[in-house]
């Protein structure tokens, strides 16, 4: 230790000339860092109300409260997180779990108030809460609190790279486009058990999907069962609400996936493929489900149409103990699904697996029985205590342009390809329409062309009134069709089918579309008369929509049947039409026009039928 100099205390004088070390003197407010973890900010437009923030909070500081002003819609609840700042530890786990990335933290950190109730706060942002978020020039540090905050004052923000959920799907193994466009083999191969469990593990269990699903399947429960490696338990959960999992696992319109909170910033959970995994994995439904119908009620129910609605109606009513007979003009169950979706999407075996299980519950199926031809509607009404109409839409619409009778109608085309002999197509096929049926037709057509004209140059084009942005077909379907080589002509409308000297189709004359919908949003296409195009074709298929065939209903009864303004059969809350004892559901009732909504209708009508039948004496 060295001896100190007598002058050393005076060395301190040199510090007078140094920059002072004291921070922020005279006082100036501290600017927090860009990642500062202060009070919450919630973008109400992006927030889905999923409640994952409340679930992950280690301190129970977040509860979800209902906001009456917000209207719930599919994929969005009207709940928003409420923070208790007496509990919050500002860890930011809520920010990292938030699937839509709505929740973030800000640089605000002052809140002083006499009333402890003010420490509970529903965070919003400038848009949803303009009175509490003020411009920097109006902001006063003296008033700084949860209800007096600076605009644009970001802190710890969500970052998808560091999110606590997995934004990407387990990729579904599929047959490559080059290979699949040559045959009708099933395109989607299905998940292996490992893949299914990995995909199921992504589910955050927020149940937004269950509210969006028309049939309200217990999705998070059956997904969790898959994750736990119990496909049989999963199947039991599915069968509580949906008796056709092998079908829906392939062709469902998946309203659930559109609502999935993961889909906001990443890819939605593959709910449909997981359902398919369960249906394919469980070989013996009967053993897994162990269902027994209730004791017989002695009442008889006739179901017209063995489509998804009719099958569901049969299943639910059979479980209630009614004697159920299903009539269908086709040789097997499935209705339009048996003939509509191409083989590469929905093989017949999958349909039969679901139908056979429903048959095993004692449901009587009368296939090849066309009501109105083999058996009259009047007889059915006499012989049965109640009737359910699940007839769907079985007639294709035509464009009715000149010579359109030379064209093939979509449903005839699909039906022949699926269950009868294949249609002979030319080398140049034009498909009119931009919906999912048109996609099915176009994709079948290119397969047939490859099979019937091997090695030759073949073209399938699609013409649709709608432009890319409003094309009604699923985005995935359009992408897959593109991959397979379909040539799209969006925003063109058919004007004329051109014929050659022998009366064969030569091409399609098209006009450029000005707009498809009028100001009121009604379908009313207008065209540029001067812009025309000729698509060369030897086969033209019309796929512009379907209609229902009510010709089997006698006229006097049909006149009593009430319709809605949108030409749907009007039913009451039990699914009963204006004819007593006649119930209806599916495409003839709802405007969704898909299988899962038909199931939902059937669930409602099951209760209605049960109620109705219990009131009448046993005949």
């Amino acid at each position: 230790m060295k001896k100190g100099n007598i002058f050393s205390p005076f060395k301190a004088i040199r510090h007078l000339f140094r920059k002072p070390k004291t921070l922020k003197y005279p006082f100036e407010p501290k600017e927090p860092a860009r990642r500062y973890r202060g009070f919450h900010l919630n973008d109400w437009d992006a927030c889905t109300g999923c409640g994952n923030c409340a679930d992950i909070c280690p301190n129970g500081a977040i509860i979800m409260v209902e906001i009456p002003e917000i209207k719930p819609e599919p994929g969005k609840k009207n709940q928003r997180p409420k923070l208790d700042y007496g509990r919050c530890c500002f860890c930011g786990l809520c920010v990292d779990i938030c699937p839509p990335g709505a929740l973030s933290l800000t640089g605000d950190y002052f809140h002083i108030h006499f009333d402890t109730k003010t420490f509970s706060f529903i965070p919003g942002d400038e848009k949803s809460d303009p009175e509490h978020f003020v411009d920097p020039q109006n902001y006063s540090l003296l008033k700084a609190s949860l209800s007096h905050r600076k605009k644009n004052f970001p802190g710890f923000s969500p970052d998808i790279e560091y999110a606590l959920f997995e934004p990407e799907r387990v990729p579904m193994p599929q047959v490559e486009p080059e290979e699949r466009s040559l045959s009708f083999i099933e395109q989607v191969l299905g998940y292996s058990e490992k893949e299914a469990r990995a995909e199921a593990a992504r589910c955050l269990e927020c149940k937004l999907c269950e509210e969006a699903c028309p049939a309200h399947l217990k999705i998070s429960d059956y997904i969790k069962a898959i994750y736990l490696g119990e496909p049989e338990e999963s199947l039991r959960k599915i069968y509580e609400d949906n008796p056709i999992p092998a079908i829906c696992g392939r062709i469902c319109m998946k309203h659930c996936e559109a609502a999935c909170s993961l889909s906001v910033r990443g890819e939605a959970l593959s709910i449909r493929w997981l359902k398919r995994f369960v249906a394919d994995t469980v070989r013996d439904y009967q053993k897994a489900l162990q269902q027994k119908p209730a004791p017989s009620t002695g009442k008889k129910l006739a179901i017209i149409g063995a489509g998804p609605g009719g099958l569901s109606m049969a299943y639910f009513s059979a479980l209630k103990g009614h004697h159920v007979t299903v009539f269908d003009s086709l040789p097997g169950g499935g209705g339009m699904l048996r003939v509509g979706p191409p083989l590469y999407r929905l093989p017949i075996e999958a349909i039969d697996k679901d139908v056979n299980y429903i048959k095993s519950l004692g449901v009587e199926f009368r296939f090849n029985a066309t009501v109105g031809k083999n058996i009259s509607f009047g007889d059915i009404l006499k012989q049965y205590d109640a009737v359910y109409l699940g007839i769907g839409m079985t007639m294709s619409r035509s464009t009715k342009v000149r010579n359109s009778e030379k064209c093939i109608l979509a449903l005839n085309f699909l039906e022949r390809n699926k269950i009868r002999e294949k249609v002979n197509v030319g080398k140049k096929v034009v498909v009119i329409g931009g919906g999912n049926v048109a996609m099915d037709v176009a994709r079948e057509s290119i397969r047939l062309q490859h099979i019937q004209h091997p090695g030759e140059e073949v073209v399938t084009s699609a013409v649709s009134l709608e432009d890319w942005d409003i094309m009604p077909a699923n985005k995935e379907e359009i992408e897959e069709a593109k991959e397979e080589g379909i040539r799209f002509n969006p925003a063109w409308g058919p004007k004329d089918v051109l014929l050659d000297d022998k009366g064969n189709i030569r091409g399609l004359l098209c006009m450029k579309v000005k707009r498809v919908f009028d100001d009121a949003g009604r379908f009313s296409p207008t065209f540029y008369e001067d812009q025309e195009m000729i698509l060369e074709a030897d086969t033209i298929i019309e796929a512009i929509g379907q209609a229902s065939d009510f010709s089997f209903i006698p006229k006097e009864m049909f006149d009593q049947l009430k319709f809605t303004p949108r030409r749907k059969i009007q039913v009451d809350e039990y699914g009963m039409t204006s004819l007593p004892g006649v119930f209806a559901g599916g495409d003839i009732v709802n405007t969704n026009l898909d299988a899962v909504t038909a199931i939902a209708d059937a669930k409602i009508a099951t209760e209605g039928v049960d109620h109705y039948l219990s009131a009448i004496p046993i005949s």
């Binding site: 927090p32 990642r35 500062y36 973890r37 530890c89 990292d96 790279e161 589910c203």
Partner: protein, 365 residues
Amino acid sequence: MRELELYFGPQHMGMVGNFSITLKVEGDRILQAISNPGYLHRGFEKLMEYRTWIQNFPIVCRMNVVEPDSMEMIYAMGVEKLAGLEVPERAHYLRSVYLELARVGSHLFGLWAYSNMLGFDTVAQWAMYHRDLVLDLFEELTGGRVYHIYIWPGGVRRDFPKGFKDKIVSALHSIGGCVPDYNNTFFENRLFYDRAKGIGKISQKEAMELGAAGQVLRATGMKYDIRKIQPYAAYDKVDWEVPIREEGDAYSRILVIRDEMIESVHMIFKLLDVMPEGPVYHRIPNPFKWTIPRGDAYVRIESSRGELGLYLVSDGGDKPYRAHFRTPSYPHGLIILERLLKGASVADVGNIMISLYVVAPEIDR
């Protein structure tokens, strides 16, 4: 002379932290000292059994207010070992830099406590100012000043923000540049030297027997540092020295702390130079479904106070079955402190206690 019972803390000028000691004194001499922990007991280890694996990560840091980062690190390491999680290469470097920054901040806080307690107010203010520079770095990197909640299973929570390296370098230069000032006014100051030299002396053998680690052991001449013995994060990627002293008294302990701080600053510069680019986080499984297979793991790291251990048990569920921490303050504050206070003078109680670098919440888990 009459024997008196004297309560020292938890509210006492010489006491840092919520901790107290009951002293039996005769005149100025201490006959017996009994440590009284429990003022901060929040039942962390029990709490952890009721929270999921990810929910525990913001809680563990609260066990050590002064240096929460080593707690985050050891929890993340324990979970990674149990669940078999991989950590990206860059995250190892980030963790090391971050932990060394935490060590510097923690040692500066210790320096503040020591100098403040002995009446060196200027040094205390400097130390606090320099610690604030480190806290500003933490705020910039993690968004929190005290509880950073940064190291989580699978890596770290965010990468360095833009220009952060330069900010680290400038802050550390500012701290390192003042080391001569610290030496002049504190470490080599006669007023301090005379107070600390020969006080609270412990032999190497006794220190080992009583479970000492960290500065307490290294000040007795034992080169014992987990970062060297069982390297974790990126400590084996750069060269550095373990500073030691031979005397085993309070003065040598504080000098070890000083030398370690300087060594840490050098180490950070070296790590920043060789740090690779790349991802810093491997995504953990869905936190709502995350279960860890049955098993147990013991991990240990060198915190700023000594050897920190965690024994973590999973029964295959989504929460820990048991978590037990081996904190360095436990033997230092309960066993060694009682042993060293015996025979010391009342005026040296705070001196000895702070030289042992005890943080009370580490004892009360």
